[in-house]
Amino acid sequence: MSQPILQVKDLKTQFFTDDGVVQAVDGVSFDLHPGETLGIVGESGCGKSVTALSILRLVQEPGRIVNGQILFRGNDLVSMPEDDVRDIRGKDIAMIFQDPLSSLNPVLRVGFQISEAIGAHERISSGAASERAVKLLKQVRIPAAETRVRDYPHQFSGGMRQRAMIAMALANNPAILIADEPTTALDVTVQAQILELLRDLNEDLKTAIILITHNMGVVAGLCSRVIVMYAGRIVEEGPVERIFKNPQHPYTWSLLQSMPRVDSDRSKRLLSIEGLPPDLIAPPRGCRFHPRCQFKIQRCMTDDPPLMEVGPDQEAACWVTMGRALKKNGTQDA
């Protein structure tokens, strides 16, 4: 396989609040290859968004990256001067956010905002920039792009706003696009369109995509590889088909069981994961998932499991793993 374009190594991002130090991201490592689509899934507060913000060094006070390296084409973003990181933001690594309405400046025309994103990284006349803005809007399939560039964000529908955000992110043809919950604020039909758009962009432009979401279905629709995060850590990682067919971490398994599926038995109730995600100021000893885990053994409460190979290209951080747990319980599914 090719050289990874992005390598995150033992990343730790913490928030220094009055109540204590929140260990939002605690030792996360992963690689992203050129043109790859990687999904990061997990509940709210599991550290997936903070991981994304850390990559672009956008974590705000009182948050700080306290450890680790983020190598983009071999250069460490963590130790890089702010000016150099700014050159990479938007140009090499771009980002789109969850709520497309609040991510667009309400008092500036959409086209102007896209032109600004272009102008941040190259010297370009305003005329040429707005021509490019029209092209970009066409590329993300905004109808009547020539007139729509002059619209304000409030004149766009939710889906169009997200398309405009994507256009802005694509303005400088980035190598990596980080999409933080890009479909969460949208209608289901529009969600599908946006995912399709992202898939096409990945295929046509070979842009690597990191998709952050809490929705397993969205991951299945777009990603080739998936990382499951829980309480600031990676608990499972692997190719999307393997994770879906054969999840090894109880948390991943529960997430999939809690998802409604068309082909499943309707009389069976959906699984809900009991309890709440742990307090990241004082996370539980041992495996962070053990208080909510129905398969836990004695060791889970004392020893922190590392990521271990559980199948071809698949890793999970669990002492038990689902393969064994289900055999023991005699459950049929999985």
Partner: protein, 300 residues
């Protein structure tokens, strides 16, 4: 049931494209619907016109004594009568409008020039600069503005338009800085600022292109309300004899001149007093109208 004709591409185009309304055009439309604010706007436009005309033309030279019989009342040759020295009141009122507007607007220009950048910097960067600025503002808040201005004018000794503007602005910028700082503090946390940051925008771009335009509504309202305050302040200083030096006719000093003869010739006091009241009212109504028009929550 009627069968609807297939929609042509042209028709779709037509429904998709519609008038491009900017937020400012929208605000202007709402302002026009507010009768009182519109009347105030028209009055102020006329006042500004009078002030400009007065540069080139007044019925009589404003400082010439004895162009009319002292204390003479309203007549066809002196539309607003004459004062104790026989000077034409209308001519003096016109020059007075100039002074009032220069002080009012000039003060706000200084207030904006100082308060806007300081507020933006303090709100965006926070840190020690914000602490020092906020501390300074809080200390000065304890001292009445009027007192500061009075002391300043007395200290400088010689009064002029520039001194008066300076004396009013030296306390006035703090309200503006505080407002802008507050706006900036809340705007910098908005997602579109983070989005701009994620595209690699420089802090100067973020401050001036993304934060400032969003803060402009309240700033305009505040500046509009600041104008009548400054005008009143100047009139007050002139009334006390600390304003623009004679024979320049400030509305305040004109009223002060007429006080002695108020019983027999009330028009000498009334003319500047009414002009002053109308102007103050107009600015306040306009400010109110602007506040409503620029309020994003009032989408109508």
């Amino acid at each position: 049931m009627a069968i609807t004709a297939p929609v042509t591409a042209a028709e779709i185009e037509q429904t998709i494209t519609r008038e491009q309304v900017s937020l400012w055009a929208d605000a202007w439309r709402r302002l026009r619907r507010n009768r009182l604010a519109l009347a105030a706007f028209v009055y102020l436009a006329l006042l500004a016109l009078v002030a400009i005309v007065a540069i080139f033309y007044t019925p009589y030279p404003m400082a010439h004594q004895g162009v009319a019989v002292p204390y003479s009342s309203i007549s066809s040759s002196h539309l607003l009568g004459a004062d104790a020295q026989g000077r034409d009141i209308l001519s003096r009122l016109m020059i007075g409008a100039q002074i009032s507007l220069i002080v009012g607007v000039g003060t706000q220009v200084v207030v904006l020039a100082v308060g806007l950048p300081l507020g933006l910097l303090a709100g965006y960067y926070r840190g020690w600069f914000d602490s020092v600025l906020s501390f300074l503002i809080n200390v000065f808040y304890g001292i009445p503005n009027l007192l500061v201005a009075l002391i300043l004018v007395v200290l400088i000794g010689r009064s002029s338009l520039g001194v008066i503007i300076f004396a009013i602005a030296i306390t006035g910028w703090m309200d503006m800085a505080r407002l802008v700082r507050g706006q900036t503090l809340s705007l910098r946390e908005r997602e579109f600022v983070e989005a701009a940051r994620s595209t690699g925008a420089r802090p100067s771009k973020i401050i001036f292109k993304h934060i400032l335009p969003n803060a402009l509504g309240p700033v305009i309202v505040q500046a509009t309300f600041g104008v009548p305050q400054a005008i009143l302040f100047e009139a007050f200083l002139s009334f006390l004899g600390l304003g623009v030096p004679p024979p320049a006719p400030s509305w305040g000093s004109m009223a002060s001149d007429g006080i002695a003869a108020m019983r027999i010739s009330p028009h000498i006091v009334l003319a500047p007093a009414i002009a002053l009241s109308l102007t103050l009212m107009a600015f306040n109504f306009l400010g109110d109208g602007l506040r409503d028009a620029l309020d994003p929550r009032q989408k109508r």
